[in-house]
Amino acid sequence: MNGEEPHGPTDGGGHGPKMMSRFRGTFCTEASRIKGTLRQLSRKNAVTPRLPTIVEELLSTKSSPPPTARLTGRSCACNAPATERAYRSAKVEWTKRISVTPVGQLCKLVIDESGARQPLVWNESAMNKRDLTRRGFVTQSLATVGPAIVAANSLPLVSAHADVAARMTVVCVGGHPDDPESGCGGTLARYAALGHAVTVGYLTRGERGISGKSLDDAARIRSAECEAACKIVGAKPVFFGQIDGATEVTHAHVDAMRRLLATEHPDVLFTHWPVDTHMDHQVASMLTIRAWMEGGPPTSRLYFYEVNSGSQTEGFLPNT
């Protein structure tokens, strides 16, 4: 569909049943694809809760194609003017329904740089445009609300290059090589680029991650890959020495994690979201949480990241 409303009979040559058929086809395919994706993501709680609801409501208000789409086929082939009139009528009705603006409920306030709350204003006239498509509506809604969300959750970028005192320590703990890079590699790269110290802790060396290789060989290969990845991100790798597929939460391991935190004294701490299908991810998360909680009054901020949402991370509802 490429984000465009199918051309109606009034848009030029080549109209009528063929175009109606194409319209019906694209509508059904697109609607069912979006609904399927949303259902899947909702089941996994992998998206902000309100967003799929909004889009589901939007889709449900026109879960069946507009009347003209049902007129396609033989009947309208011999009655093109009627089809054209019906199409126009349905298109107007359809876009009227689309022009409802539930997105306003998503974020009613914007917090400006001074912290003051300002009412969210969106381009209502644009939202009520008669030729607004479903995809156009969603795109426009996100374009409107997205910056508001970013504004509400962002802080000024502070570089540590010019001010040593502003230099922070960031620690990220992951179960295996490639987990930290997957979950927050971009954020770590941003911190490193600003001059902050970034350390990546790997609970294991991914010993069981290469079939046909011994644990030692696999560990050697994957450790080298960690070094390379950390170099790209601008981080320092640290290995905890547990074995892939046999990780444990014990007091001794909690102590090891606590020692790392005591050494690094992180301002920002990342780890796996604890609800995960992979036990090593859960163990990495639990050890980090325990060490963070037992390390006295926590001065660091603890954030959870997601990896392979839907197949590994589950029930992840971001708030940052």
Binding site: L142, R190, G209, N308, T320
Partner: protein
């Protein structure tokens, strides 16, 4: 968190894990996730986090 400016770095870091088919991981999982998270906040690519906050209700990433 907007990672649009460093998405190539993230990709390169993942691709460094050759033994795990880092390119495949990116293509099948994290490229889609980055785009989806980006759409949620109106940027090309983003990473999402849950902040465990014991003190107040703000959930900002410190100094970013």
């Amino acid at each position: 968190m907007d990672i649009s400016s460093v998405v190539e770095q993230k990709k390169a870091a993942l691709f460094a894990h050759v033994s795990q088919d880092g390119q495949g991981i990116w293509r099948e999982h994290h490229e889609i996730m980055a785009r989806w998270r980006g759409r949620e906040v109106g940027v090309p690519a983003a990473e999402a986090f849950v902040h465990l906050n014991r003190d107040d209700h703000t959930s900002d990433l410190l100094r970013l």
